[in-house]
């Protein structure tokens, strides 16, 4: 078993990557514009439904049921898909899933596969795997195509090219397409993508997709999309391979009545996304004659074993948490060093990677001010701040015990455990007033305080703390 590719090899820790990203003013402008637009739209879409909070609670409960009975539902799904002519595969990790897809494509003699946007296949690095073995993966979602043609990495769950504006996209298309767009009007850019992909859709033998949901009872698989590229891939090729995380299940068809309301309004802020496709196994004479479903673990069962961390497996990949996150808005998604950026990425990526001794993974739960905006908008009520602090504790456990931070924390703890020591520390601290200027503030502290005083003044500790004043006046 190789390394889990869910975090990108060689990525710097979050603070270092963020520093680079913060210096990119174009990036910040693009992100601010995009996230501001979508935040307002989402709020309007959600406000239309009087029962939104009840839908969230139902969504949370359905997913909790799935996680508590995952084995039962997976077996049920397998039976239903098989009964309808599909073939189910199981993959413990990225390597295993990639090999299944590659073997299937090769068996069909395909040197090219068309792809529907899929987080699962991005997570396992399927494109790199196929390309290294002579099979060309063609991303057909507009944003994925922008990333692929720009030799770039994704920076958002829903809109992987959110960090690019229209003129940058025109540049990328102009370099990579036979018929380059003649303007940066989004309509023209969309038209260019249409022409670029049209022939590939009509001639593709094999398609690869992810799944937004799969219904255990019926074996039905659901893909939610906007452009119609998904429908093209799901309908036209002879063979369809769907790679799906094992947590993407819902028990019954009825449960979709909750998620088909929660997802579009949370993600693209629409009442409904343009296209949702549902298929069950194989339908003779309509769509692919061969259907393979790959059930992917890749760190999910390990995540399931963590009582607090497992709530990340409720995620339906809407990306509402990214769009409201003040940290994401400033750093962009690539700073997280994973296909799962933003608040959900900060709790999901380190868990899937499964190695808290990895400095980059362990830096992700700290990439948050714990403002809680993510929890507020999450359609399945993932308490992201709770999971973040929980994973911070796991990161601390995995770290050496004698770091400067650990020592500072334990000495502060020692002080706070005893009011006399605490008061003594206040008295000692009040000596800091000799560092202060005439306005009573300190402009420069030694490290690590320098991280504060590089941009902020800090008040000197006053001569008399409140408790000393209380003792003097009221004691």
């Amino acid at each position: 078993m190789g390394r889990n590719p869910v975090t990108w090899l060689g990525s710097p820790t979050f603070p270092r990557a963020a520093r680079t990203a913060l210096g990119d003013t174009q990036l910040r402008t693009n992100l601010r514009k995009a996230t501001t637009t979508i935040r307002a739209k989402r709020a309007r879409a959600v406000a239309e439904l009087a029962d939104w909070e009840r839908l969230r609670r139902a969504g949370e409960a359905i997913k909790n049921d799935v996680l508590a009975n995952l084995d039962t539902y997976l077996v049920r799904l397998e039976e239903a898909v098989t009964a309808r002519g599909g073939v189910v595969h199981w993959a413990r990790d990225a390597e295993e899933a990639n090999r299944i897809v590659f073997d299937l494509a090769r068996a069909k003699g395909a040197d090219e596969v068309v792809k529907v946007k899929s987080m699962a296949t991005a997570e396992i690095g399927l494109n790199e795997y196929l390309r290294a073995r002579g099979v060309r993966p063609v991303e057909t979602d507009l944003a994925e195509l922008i990333v692929q043609l720009g030799n770039d990495r994704p920076s958002h769950i829903l809109v992987p090219a959110i960090h690019r504006n229209r003129s940058e996209i025109k540049e990328i298309f102009s370099r990579a397409m036979a018929e380059p767009p003649d303007s940066d009007d989004p309509r023209v850019l969309a038209e260019a993508a249409r022409r670029h992909l049209r022939r590939r859709f009509l001639s593709a033998k094999v398609a690869v997709s992810g799944a937004n949901f799969a219904v255990a009872d019926t074996g039905s698989v659901v893909v939610v999309e906007s452009e119609g590229n998904g429908r093209m891939c799901l309908t036209l090729p002879e063979t369809l391979i769907t790679v799906m995380g094992i947590e993407k299940l819902v028990p019954t068809w009825r449960d979709l009545e909750v998620f088909l309301q929660l997802l579009p309004r949370s993600s693209t802020a629409e009442r409904m996304n343009p296209y949702t496709s549902v298929w069950t196994g194989v339908t003779p004479g309509d769509g692919p004659g061969e259907f393979h479903l790959v059930l992917l673990d890749n760190g999910r069962t390990a995540t399931l074993a963590d009582e607090v961390g497992r709530q990340a497996l409720r995620c339906i990949r809407c990306s509402a948490c990214l769009n409201v996150c003040p940290v994401y808005e400033r750093t962009g998604g690539q700073a997280y060093g994973s296909v799962y950026p933003g608040p959900i990425g900060a709790i999901l990526a380190p868990q899937l990677a499964g190695d808290m001794t990895d400095k980059q993974a362990a830096s992700l739960p700290y990439a948050s001010s714990l403002c809680g905006a993510c929890y507020e908008v999450c359609p399945v009520r993932i308490n992201i701040p709770e999971a973040l602090t929980h994973l911070r504790a796991r990161a601390v456990e995995a770290r050496p015990k004698h770091t400067a931070e650990a020592l500072a924390m334990s000495s502060a703890g020692w002080v706070f455990r005893d009011p006399r020591r605490y008061e003594a520390a206040q008295r000692a601290g009040s000596l800091s007033r000799f560092l202060a200027g005439s306005d009573g503030t300190i402009k420069r502290l030694p490290w690590p305080g320098s991280k504060w005083t590089s941009t902020r003044d800090v008040p000197a500790v006053p001569k008399e703390s409140f408790r000393m004043w209380w003792r003097r006046n009221r004691g």
């Binding site: 693009n30 514009k33 995009a34 996230t35 637009t37 029962d51 009840r54 139902a58 409960a61 909790n64 049921d65 009975n69 084995d71 997976l74 595969h89 507009l142 922008i146 809109v159 504006n165 229209r166 989004p186 309509r187 969309a190 993508a193 249409r194 859709f201 009509l202 219904v215 074996g219 906007s226 452009e227 119609g228 590229n229 429908r231 093209m232 036209l236 009825r254 979709l256 009545e257 909750v258 088909l260 309301q261 693209t268 629409e270 009442r271 409904m272 996304n273 343009p274 296209y275 949702t276 496709s277 549902v278 298929w279 069950t280 339908t283 004479g285 309509d286 769509g287 673990d297 399931l304």
Partner: protein
């Protein structure tokens, strides 16, 4: 592969579990509005699709108007499309025997009925059943004219799902093909039909 299956199931079963609380179903499973058809029309229009309300009697003429306005010369349709819907001003290719992909690709448009519609979200659901044909027909041509009967319109998503058979191939269509991938701003028209027109037949 068998060992992967048993390994994954074993890992799941190794996790101590508690049965969670039952799913609260106190959200709206039905919503009533004064004019579901009017709401449907308004919501479909929000996606920048063209919607017209017509009576049963005038339907054939109105289909003709749409096709004439668009100047189509070559339409595809499911095999069971009613004879009266086939406007004489264009050539019709019915999907029986099955049309080739290139035949469908060279058509100017497709005319179908629908299975169910959702007023609140402005959605049409196709289930490959009566008057709809297989999925490819409504996907490849650039123009989709869809006839929805007023009694097929449900108000909310839960009500609509109840009328559908999940084992049929389903396509939920909410407006024409669109993308939000450029600066998170919606633009209509990428790969799927770039023009969606809907005729709502009042019963």
């Amino acid at each position: 592969m068998d060992s992967a299956r048993s390994d994954i199931l074993a890992r799941i079963r190794a996790v101590p579990r508690r049965q969670p609380a039952p799913v609260p179903r106190d959200y709206d499973t039905a919503r009533s509005v004064e004019d579901p058809v009017g709401l449907f029309v308004e919501r479909v229009e929000d996606y920048r699709a063209v919607v017209r309300r017509v009576s049963e009697d005038e339907l054939p003429q109105r289909i003709g108007d749409c096709l004439a306005r668009r100047g189509v010369s070559n339409m595809v349709a499911p095999p069971d499309l009613p004879e009266s819907w086939r406007w004489a001003g264009t050539r019709w290719s019915l999907d029986e025997p099955p049309l080739s992909l290139s035949e469908v690709d060279s058509a100017d448009g497709v005319l179908t009925g629908a299975a169910v519609a959702i007023a609140e979200t402005g959605t049409i659901v196709l289930d490959a059943g009566a008057r709809q044909g297989r999925r490819m027909l409504t996907l490849v041509p650039d123009y989709h004219l869809c006839v929805v009967r007023a009694d097929q319109i449900e108000v909310s998503v839960p009500e609509a799902l109840r009328r559908l058979d999940p084992t049929r191939p389903l396509t939920f269509v909410s407006g024409p093909s669109a993308t939000s991938d450029i600066e998170l701003d919606r633009v209509e028209g990428v790969h799927g039909p770039r023009t969606l027109e809907v005729l709502v037949v009042d019963i």
